[in-house]
Structure formats: structure tokens, C-alpha cells
């Protein structure tokens, strides 16, 4: 990473550990009492790949202790795929010839009805980057509507100002998800050709702006496949622990999105194998035992079944990444990326039950929202 990162994010002091660590150090790190960034780096190292089973056992024990034998469920809801930005890897980028759509209030109601029938109570609203067609006001009003129907509403949308995050929280948004995509500034610039998303720092500081303005939880992540994965994960770890230290009343959550096929045909330049993904997840669980770790339906059913409860504590289910994907009343558009695990709620929950895990649909209550004045 040639362009300097802020001190609180810079992974360089620990890069050496990635190469130097041996298996004895890995076993020590996996069993450490209060693991920190050093142990995390050791657990990410190639040497740790040989101790993956040890790590997985430890990760499962910690997940069970902190989250029990449960998996929290949520579903993404894409409300608009208009986008002014040019992200090389994204199916919604503005140079893709796809059908664009923004949900009308009636369509949003239809989608909501379909999601309610599926029993979901945590909904993650998504849009493209900031655009006049689907701007802050549209997102805020959509959140307010969803908050009138669901107990827990989260948003994965464009980076906002402090004031906007305050308005979003007041509208009923509990948490935001903001992936930095890549922490490597050079690569970030190359991958984000145009549009508002080009501003690395504005995006990097977005979770902090959200947490400072009433959003309870910030989800962070890096899109695996865009850059060297191990330095990326060190940055992600530092980003998460920085937020936790700075906002003691806030929650953090970490997601592990991996590049999937999407329209435009971007292929991951730094492909991450399932084994490495599992190692990364276990390393995060061992070093951040009380942080929710999230996995989406980007991953295969086989991988999801295997990693559920072994590090991962929260999963999306029966997802559609297209606008209007849940209800037939809406004009459908292509998805942002391909869903690998296409199972419905019932069959996914049956799998969890067979593994001795309880799906949790409702883990929050609307009563915790500030009532409108």
C-alpha cells in the first residue's frame, strides 16, 4: 500500500508476522486469553492454514459461548439500482446496460408483504450510490416505511453526512453497513473509476459519522478478491477495533463478502479460496469473540452450512439482489451479483435445525426506537 493510511488503520507493523509465524505461534494465538492484533496476524498467516481445524474448534466454542446455538437471520431488500458510480466489480455500475428501477411506494409495500410472509424481522435496505433519482430523502422515507412494518431496519447505502445519518436514525434505522471494498488506496482509486464513491476518505469515515449520530451498529467489511487479502483483513480488524474503542455505546459487525460473478464480467484479481475465507472468519471470531460475524448468500450452501455457528453468527436467507425480487407485483431487474445459496427460508432453517442451531428471526424490538415527538 504505497499511499499512506491513517495511523489507526495502517497494517504495516504487523505485516511481518504474516510470514514469520510458525505453527506453535498459531496454536498459542488460538488459545490466547485476550487476543489482539498480533494474534490476529498470526492466525491469518499461511502457517495457520495448517491449523485450520484447531482454529475452527476454538471459533465454534467461542461463538457458542457468546451467541449460543443460534443464527440471527436477515434479508436484503434492494429498493433501487440507479447508480452514478463506476465500480469495476459491481453489476449496478453506471456503464452497465441493465434495466434500472426504483421502487414506488406501492411496490415497496408489495415487497414488504412478501418479506413479512417469509417471517423476517430484520431487513437490510440497499441502493446504488447517491443519485438524484434515489437520494437521501428517498432512502430516509423508505427506511421510515420499513420501520413501520419491521422491528429491525438496517441500510447499506451510500456514504452520508453526519446530519443525514442523524435523520436516518430518527427514521428508524438501527444499523448501517459500509464496506470499504478495499483499504488499499491505490487499488481503490483504480477500481472506482468515477462517481461519488471515488472519495476514499469520505467512505472510510462514514461508519464513524453514522455511529456519532445515532446509528447503533456499523457493519464493516472489505470485498474479498479486490486486493491482497491478508493486509486487507488486518486493516478491517483495525478499522473495527478503532470504531469499538471510539464509540463505546455502539456495536460493530463484520461481513465477509467475496467477489461473485456479476454483469460486466469482473474477475477477482486476488481470488480468495473457501479455505482462506474460513481461516479469516475463524481468526476474526477468535480475536473478536463478541462481535457478530455475518455471511450472505453470495456463498454456496455447502460453505454456509459448514461455517454456520463456526464463527458466523448471522446470515442472510432467501436473498434476492434484484430490485423487486421478492414479489411478483414488481418489474424485475438484474441482480447486483449472483446468489449462490438460493434456498428458501424453510429449507435453510431445516438445515440449521439439523445442525442444532436455532434460526432467530426477531432479535430486536421496535420499542427500542425513540418514539416520534
Amino acid at each position: 500500500m504505497s499511499v499512506a493510511l491513517p495511523d489507526w488503520l495502517d497494517p504495516s507493523p504487523w505485516l511481518g508476522l504474516l510470514q514469520q509465524a510458525g505453527r506453535a505461534a498459531v496454536r498459542q494465538a488460538a488459545a490466547a486469553d485476550s487476543p489482539g492484533i498480533r494474534e490476529f496476524a498470526v492466525l491469518l498467516s499461511p502457517a495457520a492454514a495448517g491449523e485450520l481445524e484447531t482454529m475452527a474448534q476454538r471459533a465454534q466454542a467461542l461463538t457458542r459461548r457468546h451467541f449460543g446455538r443460534t443464527i440471527a437471520l436477515y434479508a436484503p431488500l434492494y429498493v433501487s439500482n440507479y447508480c452514478p458510480s463506476g465500480c469495476s466489480y459491481c453489476g449496478f455500475a453506471s456503464d452497465r446496460w441493465i434495466r434500472r428501477h426504483k421502487m414506488t411506494p406501492a411496490e415497496l409495500e408489495a415487497e414488504t408483504g412478501a418479506l413479512k410472509k417469509m417471517g423476517l424481522e430484520e431487513i437490510l435496505l440497499l441502493t446504488g450510490d447517491r443519485v438524484a433519482t434515489a437520494d437521501y430523502g428517498y432512502v430516509r422515507d423508505s427506511v421510515a416505511y420499513l420501520a413501520s412494518r419491521f422491528h429491525n431496519v438496517a441500510a447499506e447505502v451510500f456514504a452520508m453526512s453526519e446530519e443525514e445519518y442523524g435523520g436516518l436514525a430518527a427514521a428508524g434505522c438501527t444499523s448501517i453497513t459500509m464496506y470499504q471494498e478495499t483499504y488499499d488506496r491505490d487499488r481503490y482509486e483504480r477500481l472506482h473509476g468515477w462517481g461519488p464513491k471515488r472519495d476514499y476518505t469520505w467512505r472510510l469515515d462514514a461508519p464513524a459519522r453514522a455511529l456519532a449520530n445515532g446509528i447503533r451498529v456499523a457493519g464493516v467489511g472489505a470485498l474479498l478478491g479486490l486486493s491482497e487479502p491478508l493486509p486487507e483483513m488486518l486493516c478491517l480488524f483495525r478499522h473495527a477495533t478503532y470504531l469499538r474503542r471510539r464509540f463505546w455505546k455502539s456495536g460493530i459487525a463484520i461481513s465477509f463478502p467475496r467477489i461473485r460473478p456479476q454483469s460486466g464480467g469482473y474477475a477477482a484479481e486476488f481470488p480468495v479460496s473457501e479455505r482462506l475465507l474460513a481461516q479469516i472468519i475463524c481468526a476474526f471470531r477468535i480475536c473478536l469473540p463478541d462481535v457478530p460475524l455475518v455471511l450472505s448468500t453470495r456463498e454456496s450452501a455447502r460453505f454456509r452450512d459448514g461455517i454456520a455457528g463456526v464463527g458466523i453468527s448471522k446470515m442472510s436467507v432467501a436473498s434476492k439482489t434484484s430490485v423487486g425480487g421478492y414479489s411478483d407485483a414488481v418489474v424485475r431487474s438484474p441482480g447486483q451479483f449472483e446468489i449462490e445459496d438460493q434456498r428458501g427460508v424453510e429449507s435453510f432453517c431445516a438445515m440449521l435445525a439439523a445442525k442444532g442451531l436455532q434460526p432467530v428471526f426477531k432479535n430486536w424490538d421496535a420499542v427500542y426506537r425513540e418514539p416520534a415527538a
Binding site: R64, R65, R69, T70, V217, Q358
Partner: protein, 261 residues
């Protein structure tokens, strides 16, 4: 009932309270509740689900005989949120009890003493039997007693940590001075720790993770039930003195001369 646990206007035979989160399924949770012999069971308001019965833990628990439900305010970050949650929990469950928990940090889940105190005042005024979850702070415990809480629930260690009675010396001070029941909540891992809590005069313990995350939750629930009963009996029986007094080779009182008889 000779040795009941008195909380509010009720008396309970069992001194083990159970939390109901973290179980692999609702039937597994119900089996653990039954096996434990618990009569007081806490449940998070956020896990009430009126719209999807498979996801609802209130409905199945409310059908159990001999169980008093104690809704908890887990998820509340401040006093206002906790009071709203408690009022809603009472509407939904009809229970006069509330386990007041306010944890602004969703990771370590340690309770906020200031918000807890404020919420406790408001909820006592609303007529609740308030059971506040607190750090093992002897001063806060007395303050909460003074404003009318029905019990105090100091922690043994952080929720779900399984570290045992890390707050032992503070718990002993709380127990020595308390005028309301002291229910040690959170952090316990082994039945022996529950027994130790009872042996030193704890009025009750609350267990969740140690049972839900055990290999066999039902069997562990039974073990905790037995441990709590054994510890309570030991406390009533009175432990024999432990310390053996040392006899020094150079007496410290020789300067006083021989006693005059």
C-alpha cells in the same frame, strides 16, 4: 414453605433462575427449564414474536405450569428505552416482575449503573418488582435496595464469559449488607460455582449460557438445580470453620507475664 426465596409478594421454592436465550431450539430450552426445576424464568422482550410462532419464545414458556416469567429489557441502552420495554413486557406477559438490564455496549454487555438506577426508580413507581442486573458494586446494590428494588442481581463475571466468580470479594460485601435477596447473575460456568455462591449466602443464581452452551443442556440444567439446592443446604447447615490458628514459636504476649488466676 420453610426456606423459600421471597421476591416481591411471592415465595419460590427454587433458587435457580434460568435465562432462555442461546438454546438450539425452543423444545431444547423447555426441556432445560423443566430439568432445572427453576420457577423463575427470564426472557428477552426482543425475542417475543407475535407474528411468527416458531420464532416466539414467550408463547411456549407461558404454557409451562409453575413457571413465573420475568421479561428482561436486554437491548435497552438507556433508562427511557428500558422503561418502555418493561411496560411493553408487562402488557404482553402480565408479569409484575422485570429483570432490568441496560447495557449500552452491545459487545461486553456490562450494565450501566446510572441508567439502571434511574430506570429502577421509574419502574418501582410503576409498581413493578424490579430485579436490576448490576456490576458487583456494594454501594449501587444498597442504593437500589433503598429505592425499592425487590432484589439485586450482581454479576459474577461478564455475561457469557464463563469466568466464574471473578467478583467474589465484592459479592461478599453485597451479601453481608443486603436487605433484599441477592441473585448472582452472569459469568458462571460450572455448577460448583453456583454451589459456592449459595454456600456463602447467595439467595439465588441465574444461569443461561452455562446451560445453553453445554454439550448436554438438559443434563447441565439438572446439575445446576442440584448444585443450587446443595449449596443452599450447606449454607443453612453452617460450614465448619476453615482456618486453623497457627501457634507461634515466639509468643507475642510473653511480655505480659503469666496470667494471674
Amino acid at each position: 414453605m420453610n426456606d423459600g426465596l421471597r421476591l416481591g409478594d411471592r415465595v419460590f421454592a427454587s433458587r435457580l433462575l434460568l435465562g432462555t436465550g442461546k438454546f438450539s431450539s425452543t423444545p431444547a430450552m423447555l426441556r432445560a427449564v423443566r430439568a432445572s426445576g427453576a420457577e423463575l424464568v427470564t426472557l428477552a422482550l426482543r425475542r417475543f414474536n407475535r407474528e411468527r410462532s416458531e420464532d416466539d419464545i414467550y408463547g411456549p414458556l407461558s404454557t409451562l405450569e409453575g413457571i413465573t416469567l420475568v421479561p428482561n429489557t436486554s437491548g435497552a441502552m438507556n433508562a427511557n428505552e428500558a422503561v418502555r420495554a418493561a411496560l411493553l413486557g408487562r402488557e404482553l406477559s402480565g408479569s409484575p416482575f422485570v429483570k432490568l438490564e441496560i447495557h449500552p455496549n452491545p459487545h461486553h454487555l456490562l450494565p450501566d449503573p446510572i441508567e439502571t438506577y434511574e430506570a429502577a426508580k421509574a419502574l418501582v413507581a410503576e409498581g413493578f418488582f424490579v430485579l436490576p442486573y448490576i456490576a458487583a458494586d456494594p454501594v449501587l446494590a444498597k442504593r437500589l435496595e433503598e429505592i425499592g428494588c425487590a432484589a439485586v442481581m450482581p454479576l459474577g463475571a461478564a455475561i457469557g464469559s464463563g469466568q466464574g466468580l471473578t467478583t467474589l470479594s465484592m459479592l461478599k460485601l453485597i451479601l453481608r449488607d443486603a436487605g433484599v435477596p441477592v441473585i448472582v447473575d452472569a459469568g458462571l460456568r460450572a455448577p460448583s460455582e453456583a454451589a459456592a455462591t449459595m454456600e456463602m449466602g447467595g439467595d439465588a443464581v441465574l444461569i443461561n449460557s452455562a446451560i445453553a452452551a453445554a454439550e448436554n443442556p438438559e443434563l447441565m440444567a439438572e446439575a445446576f438445580g442440584a448444585a443450587v439446592r446443595a449449596g443452599r443446604q450447606a449454607w443453612r447447615a453452617g460450614l465448619m470453620p476453615k482456618s486453623e490458628l497457627a501457634v507461634a514459636t515466639s509468643p507475642l504476649t510473653a511480655f505480659l507475664g503469666e496470667p494471674v488466676l
